[in-house]
């Protein structure tokens, strides 16, 4: 249905489906871009390297009819995978924050969401 944008459409669906967690349940992930990106970066790099090596060694491959064809790092890493490693961890954090909203802050060592700014949370509220 989406042709070469099919994989990207799946990623867009992930973003759209989890958006109410931020907007309605007030997960406060996108609202804290520094902490959000700092949490993502190590995972993005490590799993990106894993993906790169796996593709080079033929563990998995992508259907050229269902992917954009845009590739990075010497034509190896598909754009879709770069997006995947940003979108999926973000969805996980949004889910976790939503669960926190619903179950409450009981007994954890994290700073309460409404208290003073986090270490990596210097943005205005």
């Amino acid at each position: 249905m989406f042709g070469r944008a099919t994989y990207l459409a799946v990623m867009a669906a992930c973003v759209l489906v989890t958006l109410p967690l931020e907007l309605v349940l007030r997960a406060r992930v996108y609202a804290r871009p520094r902490r959000w990106l700092a949490s993502l970066l190590p995972v993005f790099v490590v799993f990106g390297v894993w993906d790169y090596v796996a593709i080079r060694r033929g563990h998995w491959s992508y259907d050229p009819r269902l992917t954009s064809g845009v590739r990075f790092l010497g034509g190896v890493l598909p754009l879709e995978e770069v997006v995947f490693f940003l979108v999926v961890p973000t969805c996980a954090i949004l889910t976790y924050q939503a669960v926190k909203r619903l179950l409450g802050p009981a007994g954890d060592r994290e700073r309460p969401d409404r208290a003073r700014p986090d270490r990596l949370d210097r943005e205005r509220r």
Binding site: S39, D63, G107
Partner: protein, 99 residues
Amino acid sequence: MREYTLAAAGGIVLAVVLEAAVLRTGMFLDRRYWLALAIVACFQLLVNGMLTCPPIVAYDGRRILGPRVACAPVEDLAFGFAMVTATLSLWRWTGRRPR
């Protein structure tokens, strides 16, 4: 050689070590982590199906054990666990209270 199987097992170990020995946010004792993990796992099966049933992503059968869940190799569940666990551990760590 079943390289993806080995890498996936290594991914689980590294993610668990990251949380339990390095960042130590107490996440594995927090039921909210396990609930979030369970919810994410359900959606992972859905997305795995969308990516591997057509297939958008195809796996080399020589690199995996063989069993598949929602079209995707079982190794993908380990990959997902490692990625989500590492991410949430880092999220908790970056939001920790100063001592």
